[in-house]
Structure formats: C-alpha cells, structure tokens
C-alpha cells in the first residue's frame, strides 16, 4: 500500500457492495442525529451499529482497508454508547457525522469510478486513497470525542471527587455553558416537580411501592447527572461552580439515602417524605438562585446534616434485619435496569414564548390582511365591472383564506398545552395544608389532559392555587367536625377540567362546610358594603357573589395559608382579564363548587360589526346574547332612562351614539336595531343604526392617551384597511 492506492478486481462484487452501502448510509445520518436526542434508545443504537457493521464486513472483503478501519472505529464508539460507557454529547455526534461524511465521500468516489467505467486495461479499478492526513484526522477526532465522553460518563458517577482533576482542562469549554444552561434549569426543575407532585404524593399513600421508589431513585440520579454535566462546563474560578458543587453534594447524599431505602426494602414513612420535600425545596430554591445569577445559594450544611443523620439511622435500623428479609429484595432491584426505557417520551423542542408570540401576531395579521381579497373582488365586480377578474381574485382569496386558517390552527395547537402543568402543583398545596392544619383530605384530579392556550394557563395558575387553598383551608372541616356531621372523615376536593362549547371549564369542588349566606349578610352590613334593606332584597346568587367584593373575607381567623391578602376579588379580576368568568355554587354543609369558564385562546376573537353615526364599532361576541329589532313604540322613558319590554322582561336600552356622545337619540325610524349584551346577570340593549357582519378580529391595545377611553377596549384592522374601535360592553352598561 506504499503508493496509497490499490486495485479492485471483482467489479461485480464491488458494484453490489456499493449498492448495499449506499442503502446503509442513506438513513444513517438521520439516525445519528436522532441519537443526539434519544441517547437511551438502544434499538436505534443497534440499528446504526448494524448498518456500520455491514459496511465494515463488506469493505474487508474487497480490500478497502481504510473503510474497514474507520467503520470499525465507529462501531467501537457505538458499542461504548450501547454499553453506557460513554455519554452522547454533541461533540461525539459531530465526530460521528464527520466520519460518516468521510465514508460517504469515499464510497461515492468508488461509485463514480465504477459508473464511469474508469477501468485499467485488465478490467480492474485503481483506487486511490484519500489523503492519509484526512483519514487519520477523522479517526483521531472520533477517538478523542469518545474519550471525552467516557470521561464525562465516569465523572457522572463520581462528580464530587472527580471534579477537581478535570477542571483545568474543562475551562476552555465555558462557551458551551450557555447552551447547556438553557436546558439544565428547566430540565431539573421538571424532574423536581415530578418528584414533588407525582412520586412523593404517591409514596405518601403507598410508601412501599417499589416501582415508584425505583423511579424516584432514577429521577434523583438524573438530576445528579445533569448537575455533573453542567458542572463540567463551568470554570472553577466561577462562584457558580462552588455553589453547584454544594448542590451536587446534597443530591449525592440524598441518592445514597435512596439507595439504602431501595436496597433494604424500607418503606417511605411520613418522616422520610418530609425530608424528601425539604431536599426538593432546597434544590428548587438554590437552583433558581443560581439561574437568576445572584451568585449565592442557600447553605447546604443544614440539609446535608439532616440527610446524613437519616442515612446513619437507616443503616443502624436495617443492620440487624435478618438476611431472610433481604433475600426477596434482590430480584426486584435487579429488575431495575430493564424497566420501561424512556423511548415513549415524546420528542419535543423548546421554543421561547416570545418567538411563538411573534409568529402568532404575524399570522393574525395575515388573517386580517386576507380579508382584503374579498373586498377587492367585490370592488372589481361592482366598481370596475370586471366579473371575470373578480372571480379570479375571489378564488385566490379563498385559497389564501384556507392556508391562513390552517396556519392559525397549527400555531394554535402549538400554543396549546395540557392543563396538567398547573394541576401538578395542587397535590402539594393540599398536602401542606393537611399537614399544618391536621385535617384529612384528598385531592382528586380529572381531565388533566385538557388543552388550553399557554398564556391562559399562566394566568390561571395563581387564582387556581388560591381556590384550592380556600377549599382546603376554609371548606374542608376538621375530622371531628366532619364525623359529627355524618360525613366521611377524609374531606374530598375535586379539581376538574373539561371542554364544552369552545370553552374550557375548570371546577374546584369540595364537600366541606359550604358558604353560609347568613354570615355573609351579617358581614356585608358590618363592613358597610350594604345596608340591611338592600341585603334583604338580594337573591341567593347575589349574596354568594358578595365574596368577590374587594376587601371581603369570610374566614373567622386569617391563617397563614389563605390569608395572604389575595382575596377572591383578585381571583375574579385575574380571571376576567383573560376573558374568563367565575361562578359559585354552594350549599351549607354540602360543599362549594367554583366554576371557571375560560376561552380556548386569547389570540383571535369573533365580533359583530355595527354602525352608529356613520362610524363602525365591533362588539365582542362573548357578550352578545342576541340582536333584536325593537319597535319605536316599545321604548319607554323614565327619568331620562330608556327601557323596553322583551318577552315579558324589562331591559334597559340606550343609543350607542348617545353613550359615545357622537349624536342624539334617533327616534325617526320605526324599527330600531339593538344588540342585547350581557355582563354577569345584567342584560342591556344597545341601539345602533345598522347591524353589519360577524367577523374575526385581533385586538390591538390602544396606547398613550387613547388607552383609557371608557367604553372602548381596543382597536382592530378591517379587511379594507380601516381601523375600527372595539366596544367594551361591561363599560357600556356602566356608562348608560
């Protein structure tokens, strides 16, 4: 091989091999990229391995030793990944891809030779090898990447001890940190949340569920692994490094504790669960401090001491357990590695909310802009008398219409997330209250997979926590009281979400003491909200709604949990901010049910365009009950206020022009167009000159001095490019 080339003599065989290799290589690149995300997918690794193996075998037959060497090296790397001796990182993937490119290039080169019949006189092919340097570089690159991955795999097992030695060589990696950091925090917080809201809650009731204990152990191990990798990217002078090391130590010790629990078949008792919660709290707080780059973290000494003490305690307790009790534990713990792999986890990427919002905004504008086609089409027909042209424009318009609809649906579905993310917090909330108050209660959750717009979820989270707290703290009675009332000792809180009529409903229902209307009455009078005669006139429903008044709180004593100054009024206003609605049903000693109605999305609304004094306005559809024609004679006026009878009901009416001071009441016409709007229980008729069409609109908020015009909530663009104002019906009722 001195002359860096050699002869291939069996052309047919070579052709066959080339076909085979091309086939093998085709999917390979994609699979290696997939490997970057699914490092645990052993089937995937096996398939890649097999493909490379095939190339290796074949190349050895035709004497292409360069390919054999390289594919052997790739195989070797894959084997390390398969046996979990190396961690897949992006550098390793890069080198794998590089090797693949090299293979591809080489095989392509031979392929061309065969195709071009570039044979020597005796019917053979002379193959020149690529430059030796290149081949060596590729090989070396792969070897080095693998070595580093092996290091980090080792390091992961012993992050604390190993840390110091590798530090210096890892310092140059600090530019990597940002990318890893972006993943590190959310990932670990996800782990912690899962432990808190899933595993620990489960272990609280079933302390001996070995599966869940294994799961717990694995999750903690993943956290440790994550910290180890992140740690490796931070230069040691960095204060973060020290802080992270401390955190890593806590996790490490906690893991040892769990190892004991796992191997010695220890049941999770209350104390252990409380300790676990403390550790999780510590992790959450110190990680978020790190993330916010405050540079300092909680001291770990206290929590470390607690964990260590428990470890010693467990060791002493279990040391004198008989061997026979340990025996059955073995097979189960050996089962651990082949528990379901993570392959069923859905593939996903993280995108910043900002990007999504921007895209949403643009699609919304497209949605509006497309309306222009219909406009132009009708103008072409009517004004320019070009019916053919008009038809064409209309067709294009409806095509774009369809695309923009699909686009909107697509982005909408991206923004939809399962309500699970909010619900998950609740078990912990309920548990904490149960712990501190000595009450017994259980939380049942239904419809966790209901989907709702991400922005809405964020807004609804706090109010929901508040409602759950209320239910647990004020709703559910102490056990003795419940027994006295003939109810089961354990209180029941149901958190439920479901879809109905293009809305999402979330309900919080408890079987506690309910809202005592009499108490509310007394309090309303005491606090001077209403006088006694006013109160007596109120319906049951109105009375219960008193709790939404600012500064109205029914708790006899304000406890640490629910008396945080966030009243029901804040809950209500927060929910109304996202176009939601909250209603209450309650019966004394039966329980209370809070119902939140939420729109599926905030992005696009539907509304009715109307005309008044030559100006177009839009009424949001949610507030409209119906549109009616009212005869002039059916409008009566008392003290300057107008009303009408509609199917036996007295309803206040007013001209929109009068409300907006754009004109006088127009009583010329016999039939008057009215939009019947509703806010809560109150109905009101708004008389307009003309009812136009129903259409979609995107709210653009008004800014500066225009922002606080009463009766107007924002503006939007129509298809013809005209800006129109959106009416705020709740304000209108107030103004009239």
């Amino acid at each position: 091989m001195e002359n860096r080339g050699f002869y291939l003599d069996d052309i047919d065989l070579v052709k066959m091999f080339i076909d085979e290799w091309t086939e093998c290589l085709e999917g390979l690149e994609k699979e290696i990229l997939k490997l970057e995300v699914h490092t645990d997918d052993s089937e995937l690794v096996n398939d890649i391995f097999r493909r490379v193996h095939n190339i290796k075998g074949g190349s050895s037959f035709v004497g292409l030793s360069g390919i054999t060497r390289l594919s052997h090296e790739i195989e070797f790397t894959l084997d390390a990944i398969r046996k979990k001796k190396a961690f897949v990182n992006s550098e390793l993937i890069d080198s794998l891809l590089q090797s693949l490119d090299y293979l591809n290039g080489f095989i392509g080169y031979i392929h061309d030779k065969v195709k071009e019949h570039d044979f020597t006189e005796d019917g053979r092919i002379f193959v020149e090898f690529g430059s030796e340097q290149e081949e060596t570089a590729v090989l070396e690159g792969l070897r080095q990447a693998l070595e580093q991955c092996k290091e980090s795999a080792k390091e992961d097992e012993k992050p604390v001890e190993k840390g110091e030695q590798v530090e210096s060589e890892l310092e140059f990696k600090s530019n990597l940190t940002e990318g890893i950091k972006e993943q590190f925090f959310p990932e670990n917080l996800e782990h912690i949340e899962r432990i808190e809201n899933h595993l620990l809650i489960h272990l609280d009731n079933h302390g001996n569920d070995r599966e869940v204990i294994h799961d717990f152990f694995r999750t903690v191990h993943s956290i440790k692994g994550g910290i180890g990798i992140y740690l490796a990217t931070i230069p040691s002078q960095n204060p973060e490094h020290l802080a992270l090391k401390e955190i890593s130590e806590v996790v490490h010790h906690f893991e040892s504790l769990l190892t004991l629990v796992r191997d010695k078949e220890i049941t999770f008792d209350k104390e252990l669960i409380n300790l676990s919660y403390e550790v999780m709290d510590y992790l959450k707080i110190s990680l978020s401090m790190l993330e916010s780059e405050e540079g300092h973290t909680l001291s770990a000494t206290e929590i470390l001491e607690k964990v260590d003490k428990y470890v010693i305690y467990l060791q002493s307790v279990t040391d004198h357990l008989t061997d026979s009790s340990k025996q059955p534990a073995r097979p189960e713990s050996e089962k651990m590695p082949n528990l379901p792999p993570k392959s069923n986890i859905m593939q996903s990427i993280r995108v910043s909310q900002e990007k999504l919002d921007k895209m949403m905004n643009m699609i919304s504008e497209l949605h509006i802009a497309k309306n222009a086609f219909m406009h132009i089409s009708s103008r072409l027909n009517l004004e320019y008398d070009l019916p053919e042209m008009s038809k064409e424009v209309k067709e294009v318009g409806s095509y774009i219409n369809r695309i923009s609809d699909e686009l909107q649906n697509a982005i909408m579905s991206i923004r939809m997330v399962e309500i699970k993310s909010v619900f998950q917090k609740m078990p912990r909330v309920v548990r904490d209250i149960a712990q501190s108050s000595g009450k017994k209660m259980e939380l049942y959750m239904e419809g966790e997979t209901t989907e709702i717009d991400k922005t809405i979820i964020e807004q609804v989270s706090d109010p929901l926590v508040h409602l759950i707290r209320n239910a647990a703290d004020h709703g559910i009675e102490a056990p003795e009281e419940r027994l006295r009332k003939g109810k089961p000792e354990t209180g029941r809180i149901v958190l439920r979400a479901y879809n109905k009529n293009k809305h999402v409903y979330i309900e919080v229902e408890d079987d506690g003491k309910g809202i005592d209307v009499e108490k509310l009455k007394k309090k309303a009078v005491e606090k001077g909200f209403f006088n006694e005669t006013q109160i007596e006139k109120m319906s049951q429903n109105q009375l219960i709604n008193l709790i939404f008044l600012p500064g109205f709180s029914t708790a006899n004593k304000v406890t640490e949990v629910s008396g945080r100054g966030v009243g029901m009024d804040i809950v209500k206003s927060n929910i109304e901010k996202i176009n939601g609605n909250i209603t209450i049903e309650s019966a004394v000693d039966k329980g209370t049910k809070m119902m939140i109605q939420l729109p599926l999305t905030l992005a696009v609304s539907r509304g009715l365009a109307v005309e008044s004094s030559g100006e177009t306005y839009i009424f949001p559809l949610e507030y409209i009950v119906e549109t009616v024609k009212i005869h002039r004679d059916n409008i009566h006026s008392v003290n300057g206020k107008c009303f009408t009878y509609l199917r036996g009901e007295v309803i206040g009416v007013e001209w929109l022009s009068k409300i907006f001071l754009t004109g006088e009441r127009d009583t010329e016409k016999e039939e008057l167009n009215a939009v019947l709007i509703v806010n809560g229980a109150e109905k009101f008729g708004v008389i307009v000159d003309k009812l136009k069409n129903e259409q979609e609109f995107v709210v653009k908020t008004l800014e500066g001095h225009l922002a606080s015009i009463p009766g107007i909530s924002g503006s939007t663009l129509l298809g013809n490019g005209k800006v129109v104002l959106i009416v705020n019906p709740a304000d209108i009722i107030q103004l009239a």
Partner: protein, 118 residues
Amino acid sequence: MGKKLLIVDDSPAIRVLIERAALAGGYEVCAQAKNGEEAVKLYSSTLPDVITMDITMPIKDGLAASKEILALNPEVKILMLSAMGDEEIVNQAKEVGITHFMKKPFKGEEIIKILDNM
C-alpha cells in the same frame, strides 16, 4: 449430489460471494436467508446439512438463530462468520455448542476448505 448449504447473511453481496464459492466447491445452495428469523424458518423447510451464519443481522441475530436451530437439530453443522470486534459473541457461541468459526474477510477457497472438513 453435494451437501445442502443454507447461507445466512444480511449482506446480499456476501451471500453472492459465498454462493459462488459453494457452487464451485460442489455444494448445493438450498436457500439463502437475510436475517435470523428467516434462517430458522428456512432451516425447517429445507433441512440443510451445513449453514453459514452471519452474526450481526436485523430482527434476529446469528447467535439467537443458531440456538433455535440447534434446539431443533443438535447435529446440524453451523459455520459462524465473525468480524473484527465480535469476540464476545464468539465466546457465547462456543458455549452454545458452535464449533466452527471463520473470520471475515475470507477467500472463497478458504470457506470451502472449512466446510469440507466439518
């Protein structure tokens, strides 16, 4: 008539290579399988005297297929074709009772020589 041979390999080119050599060496190639699962099926329907068995294959690998075939007939002769890096599997195969191995790459005459002596 020569001995009946079953060729098991996921690479068509290698199958052709072995086939050529076998025909030249006076063997009857009764069937060719491209994975372990096919090998087991084809074994039952063709009952060959000797089998050349590749190790790394999709669906079912050569070791698993050999085990199953040996369970059907402990007398059948299997020549296992190993590659660089397959040492571990070769050791496992020896435990299963496979006695003949050949390292890739090989020449046509070499494989016939081994098959003749089995």
